[in-house]
Structures are given as C-alpha cells and as structure tokens.
Symmetry: C2
Subunit: 206 residues, 2 copies
Amino acid sequence: MARRNDVLTLAVLGLLHDSPMHGYELRKRLAAMLGSFRAFSYGSLYPCLRGLEARGWLSQSDSEAAPPHALAGRRARIVYQLTAEGKERFGLLLGESGPAAWEDENFDVRFAFFARLDADTRLRILEGRRSRLTERLDGVRESFARTRERLDDYTSELQRHGLESVERDIRWLDDLIEHERRIDHERRGAPRATGTTGGPTGSPSN
Amino acid sequence: MARRNDVLTLAVLGLLHDSPMHGYELRKRLAAMLGSFRAFSYGSLYPCLRGLEARGWLSQSDSEAAPPHALAGRRARIVYQLTAEGKERFGLLLGESGPAAWEDENFDVRFAFFARLDADTRLRILEGRRSRLTERLDGVRESFARTRERLDDYTSELQRHGLESVERDIRWLDDLIEHERRIDHERRGAPRATGTTGGPTGSPSN
DNA sequence: TCAACGATGTATCAGCTCGATACATCGAGC
DNA sequence: GCTCGATGTATCGAGCTGATACATCGTTGA
C-alpha cells in the first residue's frame, strides 16, 4: 500500500464526489487544490480512472446532463461520475487508519477533504500524524547528533534548517489539534464564558 | 536531465572525493548527511556506481590500503575511488548552472558540499535558488487566489501552511545570502568596525 | 559452546510513476 | 483564413522504490 496511486485515488474520488468530471478538468482541480506542491501526471491519472471504473467505483456518465445541442460540436470527452459503491469506498478510505506510510503519504490529500469527516476521526488523524512526525524528528535528530562533529558549517546549517521545518510542521499540527478540541468542546458542552473562546472565522492558527 | 540519478551522482562523487568507500558505507553516509529527508535506495546506488565506473569517473581500489591481515576474513567488498577525471567532473557538476529543474533538484546535495566552492559560485547558486523559489511562490499564490472562494477552511489552511513553508525557505536563503556577502566583504575589504559584523561561529542565521 | 540474531554487504526485480510526446479539436486574434 | 494556445485523451521509455534474496560477521545469552 501507500502507493502514489492510492493518493490519486483518494483525490479523484473526493473531487468526483462533488460533481462528475473528465480527466483534464480533474487534473486542473488537483493542481489548484494542492498547488503544484504535488503534481499528478496524465500518465498516472488516466490509467487510474480506468482502473477505478473497472473496479466499479466510477462510471462514465453518457447523459452529459447539459443541453446536447449547446455542446454538440465539442470534442469527445469522457465524463466520470461516482457510483454508489464509489461513494462508500471514498468514505472508508478517507477515515481509514493504515500503516504509518499510508497515512503520511496521504495526509495532505486527506486534509483537503477534512471537512467531510466527523470530529473524532479528524482528531485521530491529526494526532496520528503528529506522533509519527515526532518519531521521525527524534530519529533524524539522533542521527544528526551522532555525526555532528565531522560536518562543516554548511552541512550542519542544512540539517538545522531541515529539523526546523519538521518542528514547524509539528507546531502547526498542535494548533490544528487545539482548534479541533476547542470547537469540539464548544459544540459538546455549554460554553462557559461566551465570546472569548473561539475566533469569528473557522480558520485555525491565524 | 534533472533525473534523480544526477543528484545521486553528485553526492557519490562528493563523498568519494574525501576517501574511497564501498556502497553500503556510502549509503550510510548519505543518510547521515541528508538525514532521511532524502533516501537513496540500493536499487539506485549500485547501478549508479557501476555506471560511473563505466564512464571512467570511478575505479575499484583493489589495494584496500588497510593492512591485509587485519581484514583478511572480511566479506568481499567493492571499494570505489575517484579517478582524476572524476574529480574534475565533480568540480564542474557542483558549480555548474543548468536548467532550473536541475538546480532545484540538486540544491540540498550541492549545499552539503558548499564549502568546496568559491565565494562567487556559492552566491550565484543561492541567488538562483532564491529567484526560482520566489517565482514558484508567486505562481502558486496566484493559483490559490483564483480558487480561494470555493475552498473550505481546511483546504485554505493547508494552502496557507504550504505557502508559509516556501516563504520561510526564501527567508532562509536571504539569511544565507547576507552571510555570504558579509564574509566576502570582510575578506575583500578592510573591516570597518571590528567585532560587530560577524558572529564567532561560521553558522549563519542562528 | 554454539544457536540466534542483528548488522554488514552486494545484488536484482516487479511494479509503479514521471516527463515528454503525439494527436485532434476549438476559440480567439489579426 | 491562418496561426497559435488552450482543451482533451492517450501512450511510452526511462528510471526509481521497496522488497527481497543471499551471504558473512560479531555479539549476546542460555
């Protein structure tokens, strides 16, 4: 597992959950959402779509839904839509716990669909990610400490910067976790003193 | 170009520049240096070594240099050393300008060998990296701005965090560039007021 | 004493991904 | 009407990864 394709699968199912789409459009949406931090090539996308269709999670929507005459001359496009089974699988995949690698690789795509998960699952995923990141940080830190003396200034500066990035990611997760806990607490129990606990927007860690 | 292998090539040549080594040791050093941020598999390393040998940049050192009796029972190992041509190629590759992709992909490995470059080349590489990162940042920012309205809080938070990471990298580069300029200035001209310009250590951006 | 185990060490392979490219149509500009 | 860039589907070679195989060495502990 944890194949690159699995991430793509998750993203494709999530996007098609909203509305039917064809490959080119999907790729554009993916790029807009994850913003060239993570690109998916056609060489992955089209085979992935066919594979998902073969598994019965997608189907080609021949209806096209739009007025036929308006798009009559349009180039042939293959519009995919989610089947009932596909919707179910998406829900499972999104909330699923898996091997650490799976969860790490998938984190940002999952996070992009976070709003569809219930509060408990969100918290579980965030905390899992945090503990794995911490673990990795400790390992790298130890490895660096063991070899520090024989490194020149540039190399150790590179390492320092790398470690700092991971630390920052962990702090980001801390903010998110705290935010989740706060809104969960507000929703569950009666708010103690109104007006001070939460900010006006839903955006955590301004 | 900009193949993953090119980065490996650079790293291998750089490490062998110091002392002859065999594959396993090389991999350990690589991991210690770049710290599991970037891992190289044996499936890449061994073919890479053979390729470099075929090109005449490496040769197998059968001398083994160490007292033969002490390591007599040792498992067969293939120790590689840099040839004269290999040394030359490494110098060229390290300082070389190339397509943006090449420079980006190679940045951290190049940086790890930064101390061997002259001040001008260091500055050129840092500034190139900075301008490419800025360019990318602008593109992503614009792409995000165009789709902001239809994103939920989680997705936009993810994007914000991603942008912030890139901004932080740019600031890191700024610190490095400033540091380079300062030591260059100190070396070249007479230091104006002693004791305040540079820190005691060579490490930039504490 | 020696069996078990983990580190050392070289090597290969299936499966997968990427970047480039091909091919075709459409709308817009000039 | 001609060219150019965007839209759209599709494929392929090059090459990387993770897993695995195989073999030896040092250490640990019963």
